[in-house]
């Protein structure tokens, strides 16, 4: 039996990896991927807590998060394609029409 602490550490590491990637990388697709890693880090801890507490609510939320993250990714990728058509680039710091 893997102790709960390990899962919590794994989830924290995944979450921080995602956050680090989101803050440092400027490629839109990598940034979207980083957010997905953050979501999945949370999912790991939710599933672990749910198993440890013998309570289904955590796993319910995991399913909902997975479904919603898919919808979010669909919108995100559609917008990235649209942006690429306008700018021919997906580096976020090269796309800056508004300043002030």
């Amino acid at each position: 039996m893997v102790p709960l602490n390990w899962y919590i550490w794994l989830s924290a590491i995944l979450f921080c990896t995602g956050m680090f990637g989101f803050i440092t990388r400027r490629n839109l697709i990598i940034m979207l991927l980083s957010v997905e890693i953050m979501f999945n880090g949370v999912n790991v801890s939710l599933a672990a807590f749910s198993h440890y507490l013998q309570d289904a609510a955590g796993q319910v939320l995991v399913f909902i998060v997975i479904a919603v993250a898919a919808a979010e990714a669909a919108i995100g990728l559609a917008l990235v394609i649209l942006l690429f058509r306008h700018h021919e680039t997906i580096m976020i710091d090269e796309i800056n029409e508004m300043k002030g």
Binding site: M19, L32, M38, V60, L79, L82, M98
Partner: protein
């Protein structure tokens, strides 16, 4: 469960049916104006059902009560007025599609679910329904690269803050074993977890996430770009709706989930609100684009609203809710004027485009004057009443220096609001501005103007109403 027990959910059900209906109508060759008309009629029908809806549903996961109903009233008015000001704008942009109204309706349902949520899962679902719809709305003008850019930025920051919220939810779930707001609060209280670092971290994560959502400093950097690039009616829509929904959740979560960490969240809120008022008001001073200026002004207003949360009693919450109600009309009014300047070959969103408007279009200029005075909080407009109640509650709770800071920042805000007035009344016109108003746009302007003056002159009716609806609920908790 029979159909009658769903009664408290009727407004949401009606709106959901309306959204699906609009999507079906879009497939027919119906004129887009009629689709907008359908959307408005449906909104009014749902508003009718809101009157009697109260009760608890789904094992206490969903609760319609005075608190959530007051916010739902704000969402409905926001939806209704946003549809009114969209019709002309979408025609000018040649992007008149029925889906626009359907997305607005679905976003509103998301906000309503957020305001009624009594459970973390329901809160998350509502939040995502609202966010995903507004991301698409922000990028609705596909031919406009600025609109796409704003949608991408909104989506990235939105998804990032949602992930932070989820981590906060996971931590509070892990330390208390429940998703229910009240149960978490009771568990933290009874097991003396208020000093627990995990619980504290979960509070901080949830507050950070909602600071993103309501555009409070230092998590506001997405707002100016998003508000400037998005279609103007969408900017109006999302500078009120998601902000109000964020405050509904913040008020509920802080009071129900973390009552035993009150001293912690009060000090966090003080820091965030002062920073927010500072950034919003100072940055607005140097803007030349009026949409961007209003974006910073909406950040500043988030700061005033946060002040209403700090005392944490029902009077101060009532003041915050009133301010949102008033802010709705001033903001929609200002954006309606901006939209009326927009025509096929003229953007009309620079402040210098307003030069000499008083000479060429005196009525529109005087309306803008009223909206700017209201936003700055000058009596006898409603903006003054809203600020007055928030500040007087602060004084009653002995936050004297915070009140002084708030008043100082509103004085600063008068500079940039009155600059628009100065351009309109004291500069000669730079070019011939053609106003393109339509009956719906005029109606929105009329409603906003009347409400601002009415609340400004007769505030008592509205304030006591907000207090009454609120009193029924949190009496025992606060």
């Amino acid at each position: 469960m029979d159909i009658y027990s769903l009664h408290p959910l009727m407004p949401e059900i009606v709106l959901a049916l309306l959204g699906l209906c609009i999507l079906m109508l879009e497939l027919t060759s119906m004129k887009k104006e009629y689709i907008a008309l359908t959307a408005m009629t449906g909104t009014l029908a749902a508003l009718y059902f809101l009157r009697g809806s109260s009760g608890v549903l789904f094992d206490g996961m969903y609760q319609a009560d005075g608190y959530s109903n007051y916010f739902k009233l704000i969402f409905f008015l926001n939806l209704f007025l946003s549809i009114l000001i969209s019709i002309k704008y979408l025609e000018v942009e040649k992007s008149s599609h029925g889906e626009f109204y359907a997305l607005m309706v679905f976003a509103t349902i998301g906000m309503m679910i957020m305001a009624s949520a009594e459970n973390m899962i329901v809160l998350y679902v509502g939040l995502e329904l609202m966010s995903l719809s507004t991301y698409v709305l922000a990028g609705f003008l596909r031919h406009d690269s600025r609109s796409t850019e704003s949608a991408v930025k909104y989506l990235l920051m939105g998804a990032f803050s949602t992930a932070i919220l989820l981590y906060g939810i996971a931590l509070s779930y892990g330390s208390t074993g429940t998703m229910d707001f009240q149960q978490i609060g009771l568990y933290i209280n009874s097991h003396n977890l208020s000093g627990n670092p995990v619980v504290l971290l979960s509070l901080v994560l949830i507050m950070v996430s909602f600071s993103f959502k309501v555009a409070a400093a230092p998590f506001h950097m997405w707002a100016p770009d998003v508000y400037e690039g998005a279609p103007t009616p969408v900017t109006a829509f999302m500078s009120i709706g998601p902000k109000a929904a964020g405050f509904a959740v913040l008020g509920k979560v802080l009071v129900m989930v973390f009552p035993s960490l009150r001293s912690d969240w009060t000090s966090i809120l003080i820091v965030i609100s002062v920073l927010t008022m500072l950034t919003g008001n100072v940055m607005a001073l140097v803007q030349t684009n009026i949409k961007r200026m209003l974006a910073y002004s909406s950040i500043a207003h988030a700061g005033y609203l946060l002040l209403g949360l700090i005392p944490g009693n029902y009077e101060s919450f009532a003041g915050m809710m009133n301010y949102l109600f008033i802010y709705l009309f001033m903001n929609v009014g200002a954006f309606a004027v901006i939209i009326s300047l927009r025509s096929a070959e003229f953007m009309g969103d620079e402040i210098r485009d307003y030069a000499g408007l008083a000479k060429t279009h005196p009525v529109m200029a005087s309306l803008m004057l009223v909206f700017m005075f209201a936003l700055a909080g000058i009596p006898p407009t409603a903006g003054f009443i809203g600020k007055f109640y928030i500040f007087s509650e602060l004084v009653k709770s002995n936050y004297i220096w915070l009140t002084i800071a708030g008043v100082m920042f509103s004085v600063v805000s008068a500079f940039y609001y009155l600059r628009v007035v100065m351009y309109m009344y004291m500069r000669p016109p730079e070019r011939e501005v053609v106003l393109e108003t339509t009956p719906p746009l005029n109606l929105a302007l009329f409603i906003a103007f009347t409400m601002i003056i009415l609340i400004g002159v007769l505030p008592q009716a509205f304030i006591s109403h907000a207090k009454n609806v609120f009193f029924t609920m949190y009496q025992s908790l606060l």
